[in-house]
Amino acid sequence: MAGDNLKHLSDADFEATINGAIPTLVDFWAPWCGPCKAIGPMIEELANEYAGKVVVGKMNVDENPSTPGKFGIRAIPTIIIFKGGKVVDQVTGAVGKTQLVAMLGKAL
């Protein structure tokens, strides 16, 4: 139940997902990154709360080498909000839920 709404994205399905009808929030993370793991539960909450309104996904940068490079990502966690395939907002660091909710509010 809880994990259903959170998408695990890969290099293969990334383009299709961000070009979808509704906005996408992507959390770029890696298993060795402490702050990334710390915000994991909060990202899952967002996936459930915004189900149907925003696609919330995570991308493991270790397993998917090509997508992060395309977006100039050199630090994680980096969270990017896409709309119609374009970057509309971005933040780096273990930010709080309030900040992400505000960013999602602007994107919707």
């Binding site: 990334c36 793991k37 539960p41 709080g96 309030t98």
Partner: protein
């Protein structure tokens, strides 16, 4: 009447230990953490000097265990709850959250900790996340086979410089003095590492690059300027206190850090301080946790006398 007997502000090892003790004392207690529990310790890849872990432990796992332990005694933890203001002078303390709601308690433990200090040079803000980093364990892997710089001379800078040699082709440590402050054993590791070079008595005056960091402008203590080509810069020059939400006009502070006595009491009755937010010499996980425990027991003592 107040919502809680005790509110703890900050969910790093300090706050979590204070919460553990408060929960076991059966105080009606709430721990507020603006992000997820952990604090600065999440930024380190491996901790070899927290007692009880002969093989060492990751920052994340240590926090995971501390959180589980506190929850075993039913500590109430509210994550994603940012404190933006406080009124601590009276017998009932008022804590204001970011959504403007308030909580009250008869005692408060301030464990808000600290965050990485910045160089405050041109290019630093613009290139954040694009080659400027304050966390080696978060971002090290992005610099495989590249050349990077580490700024600083203390434990964090030198330990992380050694860590970064796992990825980078070359790590240049730039320090504004002629000798390091780091623990002897950490210095030895760095000096023995063939991938690490040192530039002494120098400071970074600017960080430059187009879409990412490309070079640093340096100046030494004699005024001589130089340029260093690097693809990343790790700024590890100490910490600044998280004191923006503290009522500075009510609390006694030194250089932005809280002044406390040995029982972690501040100048205000019922208000304790613990961890990196306190004015002190040593800032380690172990004494942060220790101070959290002392603060909780001071709070318990104070509440019993009320």
């Amino acid at each position: 009447m107040s919502d809680y007997q005790l509110i703890i502000v900050g969910g790093g090892p300090t706050g979590l230990t204070a919460g553990l003790y408060a929960a076991r004392a059966r105080l009606k207690c709430l721990l507020l953490e603006k992000g997820a529990p952990g604090g600065q310790v999440l930024n380190t890849d491996w901790i070899d000097n927290y007692p009880g872990f002969p093989e060492g432990v990751s920052g994340f796992e240590l926090i995971d265990r501390m959180t589980a332990q506190a929850k075993r005694f039913d500590l109430e933890i509210r994550s994603g709850a940012e404190v933006t203001g406080m009124d601590l002078a009276g017998p009932v303390k008022i804590i204001t959250l970011e959504d403007k709601s308030t909580l009250t308690a008869r005692a408060v433990i301030l464990a808000t900790g600290a965050r990485p200090n910045k160089l405050n040079v041109p290019g630093e803000r613009e290139l954040a996340g694009k080659g400027v980093s304050y966390c080696a364990t978060c971002d090290g892997p992005f610099y495989r086979d590249l050349e990077i710089a580490v700024i600083g001379g203390g434990n964090t800078a030198i330990q992380e410089a050694v860590y970064l040699t796992r990825f980078a082709r070359k790590v240049t440590v730039i320090h504004r003095r002629g000798e390091l402050r780091a623990t002897r054993i950490v210095q030895e590791q760095a000096f023995a590492n063939k991938k690490i070079e040192f530039i002494w008595n120098s400071q970074v005056t600017a960080i430059e690059g187009n879409k990412g960091v490309e070079r640093l402008r340096l100046r030494d203590n004699e005024g001589q300027e130089a340029t260093l080509a690097v693809q990343g810069i790790f700024i590890l020059i100490g910490i600044i206190p998280n004191n923006e939400m503290l009522p500075a006009e009510q609390l006694e502070m030194t250089e932005g850090f809280l002044t406390t006595d040995r029982e972690m009491r501040t100048n205000l009755p019922g208000v304790m301080g613990a961890g990196d937010i306190c004015y002190k010499e040593v800032r380690q996980v172990v004494n942060g946790a220790g101070e959290g425990a002392v603060a909780a027991m001071s709070a318990e003592h104070y509440l019993a006398g009320q």
